[in-house]
Amino acid sequence: MSGLVLAGVHRRFRTGKLVARAVDGVDLGVAPGEIVGLVGESGCGKTTLARIAVGLDRPDEGRVELDGAPLLRGDGGMEPAQRRRVQYVFQDPYGSFNPRRSIGQAIHLPLALHGRLGRDAGQQIAGLLAQVGLDPALAPRRPHELSGGQLQRAAIARALALEPEILVCDEPVASLDVSVRAQVLNVLLSLWRDRGIGILFVSHDLGVVRRIADRVVVMYLGRVVEEGANETVWSAPRHPYTRSLAASIPTGAADWRKDGERHHLTGEPPSPFSIPPGCRFHPRCPLAIARCSQVDPVLRMMSTGQRAACDVVEPSAEALAGQTEG
């Protein structure tokens, strides 16, 4: 099996006596050559999951494997061979570079640590910068001397230095100006199109995800509530949260508010410290019935082709068999 595979991942955070179940049983896979969009609001666990996917964090339970082999060793370290195959692009480019080093030095670092420096390191670095559309003359510059868009592209160049198979991007364009975002997204799209790199694209910008993803995974409070082919999920969302999420996005259409079918969710996303019993979405769900506060729905295949975790939208076989009322 190739690509990145997360299975049964749990991650809990403790402060004092309270426990936050940030990731509460998630399966996720990214194959080479596919773009997977991971969406959800704050508290859903997508950033935690993304960090686990690249080895920056260790799950409390579950497996993380790359090309069939575990990503992390028993002691928490990583084999260099695994390390180079999955890389990360951070949200804030200015924070992800050491302000004391030039971007050339930042790109030099992974190459040196993995013994991949050729005879002409300068040429290698220049080549990587050119691949992301940056002038190689920028190599000696410090991070603060570059614009946000340029620096984020440099971050991608750095991530590419080890020739990874999978790239995990956590909101890579959220902190950039709108007119600059396309430049960076195009770099990612070119990598995907021309080199077959697999991309896990974590974002809250559904417009971008809808445009570039093959598959989309929707998370809520530490669980996957819906996943499937990109177009299927957005044109026919099954889970009520996905529907509300899609409806919340301002489309610029005059009917955004008045459309009866779309409803804007009430209440706030609850915190992972106090996850509601049963279906974790039921307190805010417009379709919730009594059963929803008791039974935690399982992620399963829906008639439309995607998987969703809701027993009301499409009652499961046992639900139909066992229940007496709606």
């Binding site: 609001e41 704050s42 614009s147 868009g149 100006d177 709108v178 007119s179 600059v180 975002r181 396309a182 430049q183 997204l185 195009n186 799209l189 070119s190 199109r193 809250h204 910008d205 559904l206 417009g207 971008v208 809808r210 445009r211 570039i212 093959d214 177009e231 509300s244 999420l245 899609a246 409806a247 919340s248 996005i249 301002p250 489309t251 610029g252 259409a253 005059a254 955004w256 508010r257 804007h264 969710l265 009430t266 706030e268 996303p269």
Partner: protein, 337 residues
């Protein structure tokens, strides 16, 4: 000089800005300061929302701060800002502060930023009521609770006694809105009020703002970088670039049939969530380069503009009437849709 938008009413608009210029003092030994706003003007009628769109460097934030009087003392402000017809910038400082306090409410991007962490949210609103409406004690608290209910906070009596840090982002922003409304202003300024909030909460807050504008007949100046947000709630949109307004008109027009090449580019870059016409393998339409600084003697957008001609690089295009709005472009309306 820029003339206000074509809508004429007998009463002066709650907020009218004309030929606003803002420059920030130089740092170090530099003689010249930095020009941030280069002649921006618009009007916001009562009961309507004007969306001021711009990216960083466009001058949108400086414009807002100039109206609110929140610029540093070293900043230079020229031009006219009229609140219900009264010119603000001419007045001495004390009168200016009073007019602003009573006539303008402001909401910031960071929901908790304007809330004092050591006071309960109720007492902060009480304070505004005391200073600007002379209410004290039980009368003030009753009004505070009514304001909290108005912004959609359930159980206002108990919620008034919590501290800001105990509230979520959305609730904090609601409290901030209540505090902004407490003095009974006619103008509301909002600086990216939903950018820091989750999508579902953003929708709620935008709903709330729409309701309040209608019910209280407010004039809301909504500054944002998000074209979709402005398009969904604003009546009119003004697009700012390098310190100037480059296009202004009814929201639907500016979004669907933009006359200025930059507005067009913004619309494309915003990746509307709705219709999809491109194949995934196609790259996204790109706008090369970066925003120029304010104050040039040519069209600031020309270096990045696909339609630029010689005249664009030699003269500054002025904001002139076009359709039901205004555009500052020598080739207005020619950009394809």
């Amino acid at each position: 000089m820029v003339t206000p938008a074509p809508e004429e009413t007998t009463a002066p608009p709650p907020l009218a800005v004309d030929d606003l210029r803002v420059s920030f003092a130089a740092r170090g030994g530099d003689a010249a300061g930095t020009l941030a706003v280069d002649g921006i003007g618009f009007a916001v009628p009562a009961g309507s929302i004007l969306g001021l769109i711009g990216e960083s460097g466009s001058g949108k934030s400086a414009t807002l701060l100039a109206i609110a009087g929140l610029l540093p003392a070293s900043a230079r402000v020229e031009g006219t800002v009229r609140l219900d017809g009264r010119s603000l910038l001419d007045l001495p400082e004390r009168q200016r502060a009073r007019l602003r306090g009573r006539g303008i409410g402001m909401i910031f991007q960071n929901p908790g930023g304007s809330l004092n962490p050591v006071l309960t949210v109720g007492s902060q609103i009480d304070e505004v009521l005391t200073v600007h409406r002379g209410l004290t004690g039980r009368a003030a608290r009753a009004e505070t609770e009514s304001l909290l209910a108005k912004v959609g906070i359930g159980d206002p009596r108990n919620r008034a006694n919590v501290y800001a840090h105990q509230l979520s982002g959305g609730l904090k922003q609601r409290v901030a809105i209540a505090a902004a409304l407490a003095a009974g202003p006619s103008v509301l300024l909002a600086d990216e009020p939903t950018t820091a909030l989750d999508a579902t909460v953003q929708a709620q807050i935008l709903d709330l703002l729409l309701d309040l504008v209608a019910r209280e007949n407010l004039a809301l100046l909504l500054v944002t970088h998000d074209l979709a947000v402005a398009a969904s709630v604003a009546d009119r949109i003004a697009v700012a670039y390098a310190g100037r307004i480059v296009e202004e008109g009814p929201a639907a027009e500016v979004v669907r049939r933009p006359a200025h090449p930059y507005s067009h580019a913004l619309g494309q870059a915003a990746l509307p969530f709705g219709a999809e016409t491109m194949r995934r393998e196609d790259l996204l339409p790109e706008l090369p380069g970066r925003m120029a600084s304010a104050g040039g003697s040519a069209c600031a957008f020309a270096p990045r503009c696909p339609l630029a001609v010689a005249r664009c690089r030699a003269e500054v295009p002025l904001l002139t009437p076009f359709g039901s709005g205004r555009v500052a472009c020598f080739r207005a309306g020619e950009v394809g849709a």
